[in-house]
Amino acid sequence: MSVPRYWRERKIKYRLIGGKCKTCNRSFYPPRKVCPYCSSREVEEILLPRKGKILSYTIINVPPKGFEKYSPYVIAIVELENGARVLAQLTDIDENEVKVGLDVEAVFRKYSEQSPVGIIEYGIKFRPVLKHGA
């Protein structure tokens, strides 16, 4: 059980808040004080784009403790529209629909429960872009 550790990350995890380096212009997730690419401290927090493409993916058949009831599930490296890359689960998708290059969008979903009586951990997953009129 670790309530504070989950709680302090919630804004970043719920809204996909990242960092953008004003020196080298790269974006990354999560935000941090120092740019991992050029070591600059000129980093600002930004709301990351909600759409991206799958760079690579895998299907987890042997899950870790806490994820048993959800397996098998897909995790992927998603490259967002601004170049930032995120590691996330895919959802609302069949194993045989997943492809490198697929267009996906961010959705707010449940990731796990700390225990059957513990708190629920939410975060951002990605699903195939919902087709709509607009």
């Binding site: 990350e9 690419y37 895998t58 058949n61 599930y73 995790i75 490296i77 590691l87």
Partner: protein, 385 residues
């Protein structure tokens, strides 16, 4: 700089040691190394281990092992760099002895993975990755390597069967390694039809879960001369580097930059180049890491490492015998001890004690110890003196 010398080697068989605890294994390997070195005290002890906290609820291994070796008073601490802990302990010993502060150092790597269930061990292994932002998504360590595997196969248009050959060679080598965990022959068909753990990684492409401990006694050349031996094993080069911890954040996803950097520095220190290496130990926790290692360590061009496996260059009779006792896949991978087992296997070769697996007159060995998905890499180069 006078390079430190390895004067003693000790190790346990790797397997499921239900009756032996973490401290039992560490003591067994350490006493064997001390006896082999002909010393009964050391100036410092480094214990390399990754998961004693998660799996045994035990930290403070330095003091624990010093106590159980009857060496109270000796400065000791745990060295941890995920799966590169062993390689990092060799590096720490190198720094300690070459600085002149300590003359003789004992390093013992130990991991006891069978104390908990597979799902718990899987979760603990993921500590090598970013817990808050990667592991919280349900990603496993195998899964992250699977992402890398898919990228490699796609980018370089390679068939998985070429890479699946590496575990086959590993198992072949382990048949004649008494301390290896897995001693059975497998074929590429066996590998590719074994259960999928995280697509495309198959069960027989993953290093097994096992228990084991390996130890080295490392000293300055002056001390080494006091207990004469036929062959001296010098640590000719030792270097470490990190990369951006999480694979997905790196600019070049197919190069383990930490390998490249550590290797370049180690080669320079040892004043050697890739073509001088006679035997190689790569960190094949998953088969995909082997071709990438061959590329990043300078033995093949990027995207062509798989060819050295396909055409058996890495076999015992090939031009670069690799993982001659089975590597992580078949010799075994008790995580915190692995980097030291690599040294053990290389030393067996360098000293001519490799039995049926003996390669002809090797003098230079390179060991690559990798933590996480290349978040840390330590490269140690051993030379027969």
């Amino acid at each position: 700089m006078e390079k430190p010398v390895i004067i003693g080697v000790g190790y346990t068989r790797i397997g499921e040691h239900w009756e032996k605890s973490l401290r039992d294994l560490a003591v067994e390997a350490a006493l064997m190394a001390l006896d082999n070195a002909g010393v009964n005290r050391v100036d410092a002890i480094y214990v390399s281990n990754m998961m004693s906290g998660a799996l045994q609820d035990q930290e403070h291994l330095g003091s624990l092992i010093a106590t159980y070796l009857g060496l109270k008073g000796t400065p000791a601490c745990k060295v941890e760099a995920a799966c590169a802990s062993g390689g990092m302990a060799i590096h720490q010993a190198f720094l300690a002895v070459s600085s002149g502060y300590y003359d003789t150092v004992l390093i013992v790597g130990v991991e006891k993975m069978t104390d908990k269930l597979t799902s718990e061990v899987t979760f603990a292994l993921a500590m090598a990755e970013d817990r808050e932002y990667v592991v919280s998504t349900g990603a496993t360590f195998v899964g992250l390597n699977a992402l890398l595997y898919r990228l490699y196969l796609t980018k370089f248009n390679v068939g998985q069967k070429s890479i699946a050959k590496f575990p086959v060679i590993a198992h072949e080598n382990a048949l004649n390694a008494p301390h290896a965990q897995l001693k059975r022959k497998i074929s590429v068909e066996d590998v590719l039809s074994s259960p999928i753990i995280a697509d495309p990684i198959r069960l027989l492409e993953c290093a097994p879960i096992g228990d084991g401990a390996a130890a080295l006694v490392i000293s300055s050349p002056e001390v080494a001369k006091e207990s004469p031996k036929d062959t001296y094993i010098e640590i000719a080069g030792s270097a470490a580097a990190t990369d951006i911890m999480s694979l997905h954040e790196r600019l070049d996803l197919l190069t383990l930059f930490a390998s490249v950097k550590a290797a370049q520095k180690a080669y320079k220190m040892a004043k050697v180049k890739p073509s001088d290496v006679d035997v190689l130990e790569v960190h094949d926790a998953f088969s995909i890491l082997a071709p990438i290692a061959l590329e990043d360590l300078g033995f093949a061009k990027k995207g062509e490492g798989w060819k050295m496996i396909e055409n058996m260059d890495v076999s015992l009779s090939g031009k670069l015998p690799t993982n001659t006792m089975g590597g992580l896949k078949a010799r075994g991978h008790p995580v915190g001890a692995t980097g030291i087992y690599q040294a053990v296997d290389a030393i067996l070769q360098l000293k001519g004690e490799a039995g049926k697996n003996q390669v002809d007159n090797p003098t230079l060995a390179l060991l690559q110890s990798t933590g996480g998905v290349g978040g840390t890499v330590v490269v140690n180069i051993l030379k027969r003196g």
